[in-house]
């Protein structure tokens, strides 16, 4: 049961409506704190009131709940919403209050309660609501207070409660009703088994009684009459008396066998006498029979003779048949002959027809012969046509060839031209190049010439200088008196001055060589030029002479100009030729791929022309031929224009010929056939006639024979013979046989009987024998009956004995089970030495568990000093009680719980309540108490104990339980995060959550 929300209205110190939402509390502990008198305990009261209609403490009653702070109009109610096993319930309860009406009379409005279930169903009957709440929670108000709340000052309740009270609580919590159920079922089973035993015993006695009647056993009777008959003894007695009866049976048996044998003898005798008598009687009968038979002998004889006659007739039958056969044959043959003659006449008619037809065909063959002659001629004509066509084709081909060759010829001509031109161009080019060469050379010559001239000048100048130098040198060496080496005078008026430029001999020499070189070069060039000019001249280009070209510069220039002009002219010519080349472009392409030279081309040209002419001739010949043939054909067959028509005609003719031949063949064949058939038929007719005559003769002879035969046998006429055949032979024969056999039978029987009977005679003492026999058999029957009765009785007794035995065994078996079940039941129900019932045991073991868990916490809280344990009753190994006591480890002796101090007893109560709630939480089934409220109590602890207590609270596993603590202890305020703060004002109290 987890609280979800609580609404109070005019309840206790809460004047107005206050709603508290518990859903936001995340941790499992919350603290309700506030000053004294603010209304902390009232909140618990509210929950308790909402659920049960009572306050949480004894001293308060619901009547006191209505808040004096609130006015009369405000209703006093508590609405409590809680979750139970994931289902949400809401209960609203109104407190009773006194209402004063206008007339100053007071009315007590009693309490109302409305419960809304998780399904939405609403219960508002007060009693029903209370009952439902108790059902849902599983505890009533008292128990609720003991488990769920530890109210202020009353927390010791559970600790000090008596065993029985604890048992009631625990039973509800741990739903040990099942155990109760268990015990009950054990009880039922045990009862069942004992009942079974008694009923089985009764059955046994009934059986024994039933058997008693037939046994007449006094001992057994006596035994059974006892109040507690021993079944064992009864069985023994029964067995004994059965044995006695069995002895009796044996005696009777022997008597019976004796009687049986005597009876048998008598019967045998009786039988033999009877048999004899019967045989004698039989013989008499047989004799009379024989007499009768003798009387009918005559008839039998007649029948025999008839039979003989029949036999004879039968013998003759085949002959007769033969005769008739032959006659029928004759008839047949006659009909055949008729048919044949008919056929014959038909055939002859056919034959005539065929012959006429054949004549017709023969006439036709004349015409055919004509056809045959025309065919080869036509064929020849066809050939001619064919040849004509061939020729035509050939002609066309040749024409094509001609055209081709013409083309080729053209090409060749073109290529010839091109080649010629090419040659021309080449020569022109050569000339051009040589001219340019000459030009260039001329240029160089010019230059060189110039150079040469210059050099010459320089040299001469230099030489002069040199000379002057020499003069100068000499002049220097001159003295006035010395003679001049040159002229020899001694006066030197004009002394040569040394030129500025100093020249040596070597330099002069160098200049000279240079000059000579240049001259050489010039000469060479001149020679070259001469060569070239000669070449050109021979080619016919120049008209002017060579030698006067190099005379001077002017002339060189002139030559130069002329050459240029020539060149120019050549160029022009080149252009022209180039144009021509363009015309001949295709030829160029053709020849590009192959290296033709003019000769080959020319040769080809000639060849081609030859072929051309050849072809021409051919064409002429063919056309002439063709024309002639065509003319001829036209003359022969003017209407025929093509070979095809002729071919068709030929085939037509051929076909006709073939048809004619075929027809002839056919006819010939048919004729042959028919003739053959005709001849055959004639011969057949002849044969048939022969046969007929033969047959007639045979018939005659046969009939004569036959007559003789039947007459010899005894038949006067054919009719007699026929009547004789009509006889029903088999029946008569059967009669005869029967008679004979009967006779035989009787005779044999008689002979047998004779033997059997012998000399004996009819006996008359039969009756006496019969009576004797009967007597003896009667006696036997009674004896037998007695035997049967006795054995039946014995059988019944034995069966009964066996039944009793089996039932007895079952009882024995059952006994064991019964005993054990009974024992278990007694153990479970507490009828045992320890006076401990199963339920109590279970409860006490749960209680032990609770105590164990409580001790874990108590150990911590009291530093292992205190330990809870169950009070052990004196001299009992096992305590059934649920009373508690405290074991103090300091003294090592246990003492009652009530001896604990306030703080210590709070600790014990706290741990017990915590342990209980933990066990309940882990226990599936039973009540679902997962909330706990502790109202004060922590204030009774000193700081060490408080520390321990808080430590214990800390260890509570977070299993979804909620623990609400009311305390003003400041340490708790610090340590517990979620708080519900109740504050008191002049107008009443307020409460609100302060969550972490």
């Amino acid at each position: 049961m987890i609280p979800l929300s609580l609404t109070l209205s005019a309840f206790g110190p809460f004047a107005k409506e206050v709603t508290l939402d518990f859903k936001n509390i995340k941790n499992n502990i919350f603290l309700i704190t506030g000053p004294t008198g603010s209304g902390k305990t009232t909140l618990f009261d509210a929950i308790s009131f909402a659920l049960f209609g009572k306050a949480s403490g004894l001293s308060r009653t619901p009547d006191d709940f209505k808040s004096d702070f609130a006015d009369e109009k405000t209703p006093c109610f508590v609405e409590f919403e809680f979750a139970l096993k994931d289902k949400i319930f809401k209960i609203k309860r109104f407190a009773p209050y006194v209402k004063t009406t206008n007339k100053n009379t007071s009315r007590v409005i009693s309490s109302k309660a409305i419960l809304t279930l998780d399904s939405g169903e609403v219960i508002d009957n007060l009693k029903a609501v209370n009952a439902k709440i108790e059902e849902l929670l599983g505890v009533n108000e008292r128990q609720f207070k003991q488990i769920v709340m530890l109210p202020q000052g009353e927390f010791k309740r559970l600790l000090e409660a008596k065993s029985d009270e604890k048992q009631i609580i625990f039973r509800r919590i741990f739903s040990t009703e099942q155990i109760d159920e268990f015990t009950n079922i054990l009880k039922l089973k045990s009862k069942e088994l004992t009942d079974y035993t008694t009923s089985a015993k009764n059955t046994i006695f009934a059986l024994l009684q039933s058997v008693l009647g037939s046994l007449a056993d006094a001992e057994l009777e006596a035994e059974l009459r006892k109040s507690e008959p021993s079944i064992q003894k009864s069985l023994e007695l029964l067995g004994a008396s059965i044995k006695v009866q069995q002895g009796k049976l044996l005696e009777l048996e022997s008597v019976r066998t004796n009687l049986e044998s005597s009876c048998k003898e008598l019967t045998l005798e009786l039988e033999s006498t009877e048999r004899l008598n019967s045989k004698i009687q039989e013989r008499a009968a047989l004799l009379s029979q024989l007499e009768l038979l003798k009387q009918s002998e005559d008839v039998i004889e007649k029948a025999k003779s008839d039979v003989i006659k029949y036999r004879a007739a039968k013998d003759l039958q085949p002959q007769e048949r033969l005769l008739s056969d032959k006659q029928t044959q004759l008839e047949q043959l006659k009909t055949v002959l008729l048919k044949e003659t008919q056929q014959n006449s038909a055939l002859s008619l056919e034959l005539d027809a065929l012959k006429s037809e054949l004549a017709v065909q023969v006439q036709k063959s004349e015409q055919i012969k004509l056809y045959e002659q025309t065919i080869p001629r036509l064929e020849a004509l066809v050939d001619d046509f064919k040849i004509c066509d061939d020729l035509k084709v050939e002609l066309a081909e040749i024409k094509i060839q001609k055209a081709k060759s013409k083309e080729k010829l053209n090409l060749i001509i073109l290529s010839e031209q091109w080649l010629e031109i090419k040659a021309q161009i080449d020569t022109l080019k050569l000339q051009e190049s040589s001219i340019t060469q000459i030009k260039n050379l001329l240029q160089t010559f010019k230059k060189l010439h110039q150079k040469h001239q210059m050099q010459k000048e320089n040299y001469s100048a230099d030489y002069k200088l040199f000379l002057e130098q020499q003069a100068g040198f000499l002049a220097q060496t001159l003295n006035d008196a010395a003679p001049c080496p040159v002229c020899g005078s001694t006066e030197h008026p004009k002394i040569a001055v040394l030129p500025a430029k100093h020249l040596t001999q070597q330099m002069l020499e160098a200049l000279k060589t240079a000059l000579e070189e240049t001259a050489q070069n010039l000469h060479q060039i001149q020679l070259k030029l001469q060569e070239l000019f000669n070449a050109l001249h021979s080619a016919g280009m120049f008209s002017f002479e060579f030698s006067d070209i190099f005379a001077n510069e002017e002339q060189i220039n002139l030559t130069h100009q002329k050459l240029t002009l020539n060149c120019h002219g050549l160029e022009l010519k080149e252009q022209e030729i180039k144009q021509q080349v363009n015309v001949l472009f295709p030829a160029e392409n053709l020849l590009k791929n192959k290296e033709f030279n003019l000769e080959i081309v020319r040769a080809k040209h000639e060849e081609q022309v030859k072929t051309d002419t050849r072809l021409e001739l051919q064409v002429e010949a063919l056309t002439a031929d063709l024309k002639a043939k065509e003319e001829r054909n036209k003359s022969l067959y003017p209407q025929v224009s093509s070979a095809e028509e002729i071919v068709n005609q030929i085939s037509k003719l051929k076909a006709e010929i073939n048809a004619h031949e075929a027809a002839l063949k056919e006819l010939a064949g048919l004729l042959e056939e028919k003739q053959a058939a005709f001849l055959k038929s004639e011969s057949l007719i002849k044969l048939h006639n022969q046969n007929i005559t033969e047959l007639l003769a045979q018939i005659e002879s046969e009939s004569v024979k036959f007559k003789a035969a039947y007459q010899s046998v005894g038949f006067a006429s054919l009719e007699e013979y026929k009547t004789a055949l009509v006889l029903n032979c088999t029946a008569i024969e059967a009669e005869i046989a029967e008679y004979e056999s009967k006779k035989r039978e009787v005779l044999t029987k008689l002979s047998v009987l004779k033997e059997d009977i012998g000399a004996n005679t009819f006996s008359k003492d039969l009756n006496m024998l019969k009576a004797k026999c009967k007597e003896s058999s009667d006696a036997l029957a009674t004896c037998q009956k007695e035997c049967i009765d006795l054995s039946a009785t014995i059988e019944i007794c034995l069966r009964t004995k066996n039944k009793v035995k089996t039932v007895w065994q079952q009882i024995e078996k059952n006994n064991n089970l019964c005993y054990k079940t009974n024992e278990l039941y007694r153990l479970a129900s507490g009828q045992n030495s320890a006076k401990l019932s199963f339920e109590r045991f279970v409860l006490s073991s749960y209680f032990d568990l609770i105590i164990e868990i409580a001790n874990l916490k108590l150990r911590e809280m009291t530093m292992a000093r205190y330990k809870l344990q169950r009070k052990l009753e004196k001299n009992k190994r096992h305590s059934s009680g649920l009373d508690l006591e405290i074991m103090d480890s300091f003294t090592g002796k246990p003492r009652d719980v009530s001896t604990l101090s306030g703080g210590e007893s709070f600790k014990a109560a706290l741990v017990l309540a915590l342990a209980l709630s933990e066990v309940i939480a882990n226990f599936s089934g039973g009540t679902h108490i997962d909330t706990m409220f502790i109202d004060e109590g922590f204030g009774t602890l000193d700081e060490e104990a408080l520390d321990c207590a808080i430590g214990v609270l800390m260890q509570l596993k977070n299993t979804g339980r909620m623990i609400g603590i009311i305390s003003h202890v400041s340490e708790l305020k610090d340590r517990i995060k979620d708080k519900l703060i109740v504050s008191a004002t002049q107008n009443g109290s307020y409460a609100h959550f302060l969550l972490s």
Binding site: N27, N28, I29, F30, Q178, I179, E181, F182, I185, L186, K189, N816, L817, K820, T821, L824, L827, A828, S833, A834, L836, F838, F841, V842, S845, Y846, D848, L849, I853, L856, R859, M863, A864, R865, K867, H878, S889, F890, T891, G892, K893, E918, V919, N922, F923, E943, E944, I950, G951, L953, M954, Q955, L972, D974, R975, I976, K977, D978, L994, S996
Partner: protein
Amino acid sequence: MKILHTADWHLGKTLAGYSLINDQAFILHNLKKLLKEENIDILIIAGDIYDKSVPSIEAIRLLDNFLYEVTTETNVKVLAIAGNHDSAARLAFGNRLYQSQGLHIIGEFESTLPKLTFADDFGSVNFFFLPYFSLEKAMHVFDLKFKNLSEAFTAIINHNKPNIKTNERNILIAHGFFSYFQQVKNAFSELDVIDSELPIGGMDIIDIGPAEFFDYIALGHLHCAQKVAKDHIRYAGSLLKYSIAEAAQNKSVTIIELKEKGNLKVKTQQLATLHDLCVISGFIDDITQNPQKYVHNPADYIFAKLKDNNVVDGMFRLRQVFDNVLGLSVAANEDINFDAVINKELKQDISGMFKMFFKELTNNKLDDEYLTIVNDVIKDLNK
């Protein structure tokens, strides 16, 4: 600069009825000696100075004496903050008056952390005081909504960042449940915590990450001296062993030698105590006959885990031998696995329970014949 970092004095605490005031006086005396010997410059007390909001008279007297002696006999500056056990306003009474004497006690939490600067050879050292704060207080002070304490802490650091010169050395003094990780289970693997240090109803662990840039963070609240992932973030631990769960811890104070920025040396120093607190385990007879085998000083606070199943007058006997017995437990009270117990017991079905019942009464196992009967009955029951 030499700093001594301590916390969680819990002056006035009683343990199992024994007042520890004398032990606390003894160790504070030794602490004063240590301050003199080590030439400490700054003493940091990082919260939980008193055990209760309204401390006992002896506790007040003890603290009064100590602080007076330290401030008069030495040049040590005392920097203290209020913890969750202290009452902030009461503890910080007269703080403004003390400052001139070198005593600074910051009780109430403010959005701007009080800053105190001292100079040493290497420059200035800034101390920031962050006393214990609750989520409500933080939300109230900032007028903002925080989801958890970590968020509040981040906001505090961010708010104060402009005031912190990161080129200088800065030290933060704080009191709370700080960890490097947000996850509870990681925190537990990381830190040594005893149960009473856990908050109820929710784990509000504060992520120390945002404050990592401080040169040293002096923390208080957890009673075991330890570092929080990094060497410069430490809990000093309590002065004395204050519960049986702490019996195995080594108590110490932390001394920090602070040189230039980036250079600090940390060491722990144990102080002599008047009594030790230990848990001894053995048989009652052996313990009472040979107490010296288990404990050096019979005056120590002893918790006896007796191996006997039940002892009569155990407490009385122990008190003959030892002066201060905190309590005893017997072997029969050994830890039981809750889940195993509850599952075993409750998951029994009727036939199982009946078997147990049968065994209990007749001391025999339920043989096959009986078993078939029982199964039949159960079958009928289920119909």
